[in-house]
């Protein structure tokens, strides 16, 4: 995968720097779902603060990724959605229901920490 995946105390961190293609999104989803098991991560955090667009395909893939990661015993958080992007998403009726969302990396990490502390809830 062209996007680097960092690991930090049990959390996989991906920072998307430029709009990935649809194929890259699918690769990323597969890679993250795999890595959750191999590195025994409990959280996955995707930073989209550098993106100015999140289209319906990207949104759906992120949502599916979060669900798949959850089935593998971890939780996913999307952080850094920009005001314009959030506005466009609700206008288009796109939602990220079921994923954690936070303003920035710091908030996202603490959210994940809380969500993974009691995974049975």
């Amino acid at each position: 995968v062209s996007v680097p995946i960092l690991e930090h105390s049990g959390t996989l961190i991906v920072s998307l720097q430029s709009e990935p293609t649809d194929a890259e999104f699918i690769d990323l989803e597969a890679e993250l779902t795999e890595r959750v098991g191999s590195s025994r991560a409990r959280g996955v955090l995707i930073d989209v603060s550098a993106l100015s667009v999140l289209d319906s395909f990207a949104t759906r893939t992120l949502r599916e990724m979060a669900q798949a990661v959850r089935l593998r015993g971890a939780r996913a958080a999307i952080v850094g959605i920009q005001p314009d992007v959030a506005f466009a998403m609700v206008q288009l009726g796109l939602s990220l229901d079921g994923t954690l969302t936070a303003l920035n990396l710091e908030d996202g990490l603490s959210l994940l920490n809380e969500a993974t502390a009691k995974p049975w809830q």
Partner: protein, 300 residues
Amino acid sequence: VTVDQQYRASTQLTEAELNALREFWQVCEPRYDELVTDIAADAHEHPELGSLLGGDDPSDLERTHELLTSAIMDGDWSPYLARMGDAGVRYAEAGLDFTAWFAAGRALRSRLVPLMVEALSDEAERLAEAVRGVAILIDLVLLAVGRSYISAKERIITDQQAVLRELSTPVLELRPGLLLVPLVGLIDSERALLLTQQLLEGVAAYRAKAVVLDITGVPAVDSAVANHLMQTVQATRLMGAHTLISGLSAENAQTLVRLGLDLGPLNTVGTLADGVLQAAAILAAAEDRARRYQAIPTEQ
């Protein structure tokens, strides 16, 4: 055809109209000063008359006279009509009634027509032309004044709308991480979009964790408004903030239920006070979460 084009077209005079105006001016100009003095007598009743032929200032009088002469004799109407237009703008800005100008036009006509009759009583054809000239002049003046009056009014309205739009969705920081948006008045689509945009900018700028959207002052909440609110709530959620809606009246609550809307994502609380309390709890939970996260040793 734009308004400007239409205006230009209606100030384009035919040769016959120009002749009529010249006929009028031949009689009027030698007696201009006398006319102005006469009109000064009417001016306490119609202050607009002053600016038609001159002004309070003698130098204004001289200038208006010159402009009117070059307009009628050389066909150079723009400076004179622009001067009349300025009067229209002044009237609009002072909030004075435009209809006063019609009364002034009538008063001017009743001064000018006897003048024409007196000078040209033996020449029926020239008299008819001159009287027609009076009518054309007054029409042109009213047109120029009216046009600038209306465009000045429209500008005032646009400015006020912009101010109201700004005021309509204030995003206030109640304390660090907690925003308050008091909404007053009807919410239409345009306002709802603006609200969402400004709130999202606010969430980013203030790093807000909780937002209280108070709709106590919104008289009617129908399905359109409810959908807009839902979008706003979801958009802030995407940015990691929780939005609470406070002040939904009993009447509006019943309406929404009867409409059968799924208001699942809408966190509603009774009053603004409840909203602020709950928002504070959300903030406290977030702070708690951050503290616990920071307390984790990095080596696991």
